[in-house]
Symmetry: D2
Subunit: 488 residues, 4 copies
């Protein structure tokens, strides 16, 4: 087995802390960038941030905002911001790279949801897996191969943080293209589970606890991670969880009316509780993500989803609100800058700053990350990108040995890993027929007949053809057999 653990192999920086260069690809973001800018201003680090975005104007806006924040009195750190014009200029010599972008337009994300729905597949988000998630991956992987190649050329030792969905596919593509990349995939879902467990501890154990007080042993693949140990300040939470799982609140049924007015992010933990009752381990991702992997909850369409307290991310929502970070909240930095809205410099609770601080030499941080498997999940194949806790220390991210799964859960997870690995392998040569094999394995697709599977695939290809540059459509037997793909 080759070692794929993220590590810096040759750094001669004696003190990065004083001069960190951050390359932010997708830096025109309206949500995460403003938060990062404020966090940096309050940090112990100094340096320069290069913001790059396909929409250059948005990068410029955020650069202006970054420098404006630095002019506030409350800013304790020393950062400067520039909007850059090319990925190469952005990455050259960077210490840290943030990847949070996709180039394909909103309409493709609408296709991800709407076209499978025509075939009866009622995916909840289509951001991770399922036919929509797979096509999102197929559009994203070639771009992330390009990023990996550019990082190898311009900043081979940089720490790369990938926030882009599907996190597993995008992170895997980075390593597949450039095996020595120091990349980690990051996601908020496990943090959400820890917050939720802290709330249960407060409510039922009469303790004062927040997310930081809850530790979990977590493992799996992004958006389908599982917890088999959980403690709040050392107190084992398992007996509480087993008790709660049998209470009424863990056996609620919802209707469409109940959920009216709720955000698509609503999470009632009913999927979580049901899976916990069945398999004895606790899923650690939002219910809306879990259902895309644990596809029983999609059978019966909207009614079933709603019955478990989940709302579907409608394509209309996507059309309006789409951003790679899937936010429904954006920050109007112009309003702050022109005084329309009062500004106060407060830190977010993003783990990014915890990780960055630990990487640059200040303390130890334990948090969940996505990395190629080299033993941290003992019963998944090596090199597949898995999510577990990792220890972050100066210039080092090391996953912990999180063990394995009960057999039924292992079966579920392995099945999805097979799809992911098949797609990524197919992407090396852009072999569309090989990708279709992975598509066929997908649990959502397995509700279709062979003909419908092929037609759905072809229809998605037809709809998204301009954004599937890395794939060889011409020689595809699947497309040739299909009627949904018009051909030349």
């Amino acid at each position: 087995m080759t070692t794929t653990r993220a590590k810096a192999t040759a750094t001669d920086d004696t003190d990065r802390t004083d001069d960190v260069t951050i390359a932010y690809v997708g830096g025109g973001s309206r949500q995460w960038a403003p938060a990062l800018i404020r966090d940096l201003a309050l940090s112990d680090l100094n340096g320069n941030v290069r913001l790059y975005d396909a929409n250059h104007e948005s990068a410029e806006r955020n650069a202006r905002f970054g420098n404006w924040v630095q002019d506030r009195e409350e800013a304790v750190a020393d950062w400067s911001y520039d909007a850059t014009e090319t990925p190469a200029a952005t990455l050259e010599g960077a210490d840290v790279v943030v990847l949070s972008t996709q180039y394909d337009p909103t309409e493709t994300f609408v296709h991800d949801l709407d076209i499978p729905k025509e075939y009866g597949i009622y995916g909840a988000v289509a951001a991770t897996i399922g036919p929509g998630g797979i096509f999102r991956a197929m559009r994203t992987i070639p771009l992330y191969r390009e990023f990996a190649a550019a990082i190898r050329e311009h900043c081979p030792d940089a720490w790369v943080f990938n926030y882009t969905n599907p996190v597993t596919f995008a992170t895997r593509a980075l390593y597949d293209e450039y095996p020595d990349v120091n990349a980690i995939g990051l996601c908020h879902e496990v943090l959400g589970t820890r917050s939720c467990l802290a709330r249960y501890a407060r409510e039922h154990l009469d303790v004062d606890a927040s997310r930081e007080d809850v530790s979990v042993n977590v493992k799996g693949i992004n958006h389908f991670t599982w917890v088999d140990e959980a403690r709040c300040n050392g107190v084992d939470l398992w007996p509480l969880l087993e008790d709660l799982a049998e209470r009424e609140e863990a056996r609620q049924e919802f209707t469409a009316e109940d959920l009216e007015g709720e955000s698509v992010f609503v999470d009632n933990w009913q999927v979580t509780w049901e899976l916990f009752r069945r398999f004895g381990v606790l899923p650690a991702a939002g219910d809306r993500h879990l259902v895309e992997y644990a596809t029983w909850f999609l059978q019966g369409g909207r009614e079933t989803l709603n019955r478990w307290g989940v709302k579907r991310t409608g394509s209309d929502y996507r059309a309006k609100h789409w951003s790679p970070a899937e936010s429904d909240q954006t920050t109007d930095v112009e309003a702050w800058m022109n005084g329309e809205r009062e500004f106060s410099l407060e830190s977010s609770n993003e783990t990014f700053m915890d990780i960055l601080t630990a990487l640059t030499g200040d303390g130890t941080c334990v948090t969940n990350v996505n990395l190629p498997n080299e033993g941290q999940v003992s019963d998944l194949q090596s090199d597949a990108v898995v999510e577990t806790n990792a220890v972050v220390r100066t210039d080092e991210v090391t996953p912990v040995a999180a063990g394995g799964f009960p057999r039924p859960v292992r079966g579920l997870v392995r099945g999805h890993v097979d799809t992911q690995e098949t797609i990524v392998e197919a992407s090396r040569e852009g072999d569309l027929d090989a990708a279709f094999e992975g598509f066929l394995l997908d649990q959502q697709v397995r509700t279709l007949s062979p003909d419908d599977s092929r037609e759905l695939f072809a229809e998605l290809v037809a709809a998204q053809e301009p954004y599937l540059d890395g794939w060889n459509l011409e020689d595809s037997a699947v497309l040739a057999e299909s009627s949904a793909y018009p051909g030349e």
Copy 2:
């Protein structure tokens, strides 16, 4: 890894050939027993056959027939036949045991097909996997644990041939209960594939060939085996297969009308060709069996099945024709004995005699068998019952190292192995909730919502309760949650 390879560990027989004792459990069969009797009469072996059947009368009829055959002039071997009254008396000191029986009545097999159909699951046979196959396994496993215990007591070194479906589950149960048993699971499907390949060789390569001339490298689980090498007298058949797969005959579509009048055993190889085109390896089982594992072909119900040339084994058929060997042909031995029908002593082409002959010291036989994995399929877990070729020699059956699968096929097979292993493990303590975890993993069940999955399971339990003796129904959380199971 403990060695589970079938082997005789202590035999002091100097010459079994002259005095073989065969214990035939299920010996009242109307199809296979008469064939065996004729084969034995023409063999080089001599001995005694004990016929045991829950229906004692049928065993007595076959014993009479056996002795009647021995009185024919053409009978070259010396065999005697007895109908026995208990399994113990049947097994005591036997050299060879044939298991081909199930005790549960016809109605249970009808449930296996009809109850899932109410939930939209259009299983084709329900003999192997899927909700019906799993329940058939759940009824059968406890009985085969009893057989294993009796074999350990009465004939620990005997060679045990299991023909009972689901072959994987029944054979696995024998080994799980008595790890030193010398049991092999036998099935005709791979032989059928070889016959079919011989036909293709005759038709397209202009050679004279029969099943014996075709050799394959085969691996998988019973009814879901895959061939990745095939030769006819040394000539590689792969180029021919790749050619045929693209011809019109391999791309036929059928309607219900097309299939009218066809037997439920009709096999048009359309499922086979489609899977071959997709995955590059050739499935080696009847299409009606393949679809239960490759469940895309069940989606869309009867129309889809028929479109691929497959007919469903209707419950009416089951009600009329049910026998453990699933035959639609029975042999009227009375008619032979009373002269109503002319009798001629001819051998069948059953591999049983080939295997028995090789085991008793006459030559080497290579054929497909089901055995616990100890490396013969390199990428499935050890101890799972897998089907590959094996070499049969004097008192020895050794599987060949058949290698692994392309990743997508490995993913399909592993998923089913997870179900099988989960059910068998659950059966040790009769843990119904653990069995339900395996049920949930099943690909046919995954088209149901969580509630429907549970209700289908409970309804099957309720319908078959009298035949689920080995299972703990009282403490089951799944049943307690369900409305389909009446409770006490």
Copy 3:
């Protein structure tokens, strides 16, 4: 794979910090106990320490000392000390158990060195592996099985720290007997390597650094661990190591005269450098320990050992200084208490306090520990006790995924694991002949002929017979064949 990761499964203590009960088995120690007592007095924890020792008087002395220290003004924590009379009373309800004791007398440790020497085996320490180390293990394992059983009975959730050599065997015995034990094996060697790397960083990189600034990725088995990444405050030390390895100081040769007057603990890193040059990864244990595994350095006897800067722990040294912790320094606590020596309350730099502090809820600690493998070393078998870094947090010790080895090093390590696992498995039933199979595999023993191997084994058994209670000597074929064992 069963999960063997150390963890607390059911603790209801809300705040251990205020009332920690420590059971110290071997608490009469003259070196480590006085250090612990001072560390505790300066800690943030409070509680009670029970000192147990086969030599009760020494435990009483340390209890007096402990309470005397608590009376000092400088003592900020609140601890009380008792000398206990039985293991049961010591362990009952304990939160923390320290195991640091062996019952067999000095003479056995002399045998470990002297008897193999008669056969030409010039072991350096005989504390870990080799014929002497194996017999030390064979005497120790049964005792540690007893401890494990007592812990299961009296304090099943306690954190158990094992310091007793051979650390691998003793820790493995605890888990083999009581798989749910929360035991970790601790050793100073890797800490010594980190200190040494810090010194190199100071000397050659002109930085101010101490052990805490050096982080390593370490893996292997106790006293035979290997580092493949090392950083000092984030600066990669590999280029420095590769440079140093080729300098004169890394290619020194020593004679007996050069080493005269040196302690047996002298460590010139010449073995370390040679192994690093050959295999490209850095061993992380004292040279005197490494040579027992990397047995080329023992061939040629004293001359070879000395040439590489290593002194043998002579049996005369053992006879005088023996203690389980192998100290050559003891602390005269009486002199402190009666005023003969001036006392000042200073903390040691033992990691025990760091671990204990983290376990009881104060911060995160990353340090090397010995634990059953569940993936942390990806190419060693599961359950073998391996040494890697682990993250210590509230009531939780989780090893990191440290990856695998280059093939030649993997071969070396696996060979020793085979010996260890064979001996531990043999100890379950006390099967002496099975233990001899492990003895034969040992690299030091492999320099002997079959007859000499057997006679050495028998002679060690004969000499240590009173301390081999757990082993079945009567039925041993090896002893029966030997002339060195007198028999009845």
Copy 4:
């Protein structure tokens, strides 16, 4: 895992039987070639044999002899013989390739024995492993890479039979260079064990039995294979073996005098019995080969070897009798042809003809072969060349699944596989320092100090430099450090 099972992938020969082209590289042999010629004359096959030898004259002599034999009346088959002048001409279009040659002169084989002896290593044969065996491998591997490349070019689908020692290294080199080669390594040792078991059966079980009646389950690496099941016509031989192992004849001790006058091939089975008693499985190779792997028997030099009934292959013997087949018997074909000696046409009992007959379509043959591991030995790494039984059928050689080893034996075998794989991997780039890592792992070398290990290696390189073409001597750090290698 890539499938490495030997197989023919594209043959369009409809009937090879009538026209087989055999390319015999090393065809000037005085022992095996004359036997082959007679066997072919009595076979059911016809064709042409091309004899190639570095010594062309010897090839011409055998060609004359071959054609002379065909002129005998008793010759039933139709074969013609040619002596060819280049490997290319020999291989072009061949159906079968026999490799049985080495180019390096006698003196190198003398070095293999004599130089290690100066360092106290008393290797018995130096043909397989140990310092001499490794150097023989290092000289042979580059040549076999050339053969593999030539086969790929001139006869990619041919069946390649390798008889050249070290069989494991040479066969592994063929596959490493050309993964699709249909090569099998062949050796007589397991056949010898079967013959010996047949003799025991005759002597102790009062049955008439020959080698063909004995079947074994065998596994390991060439010259270090192990049997864990043995039957004679179905009768389990294990009880007999366990009985014999405790008899006096299995506990004999020999002196040099006892062995005087014996051939170096003398085999008293005392090593075999001792290993069987210790580990419970039966080694299946000549004692003189076993001791090179089970190196306890070499410790103590000649006296120990002799005590176990083994004679060393002295270098004087080598100097006189060297041939790649290590024969001490040569056949004077000239004497036959000129009538000095009476000729009669009799077949040998070589398995080559059995295998060739089965491959060309006549029957099934089960015999031991060396092939890359793809599961046949379940606990050795994949791709390592292992020896097990295989089934030979028309154009197909499939190893059986032979299972794994008891842990101690697994440890022994794995250690040697690590050496072999390290050397073969090093040979890809000719990296001499990497090869030295494998050399250091060798059990015979491990009796040397680090300095002696290096000097022995360098001295062997110096002595054999002209025959180490494929290796990079210039950049070797090991040579640079040594005094035994003169440098430029």
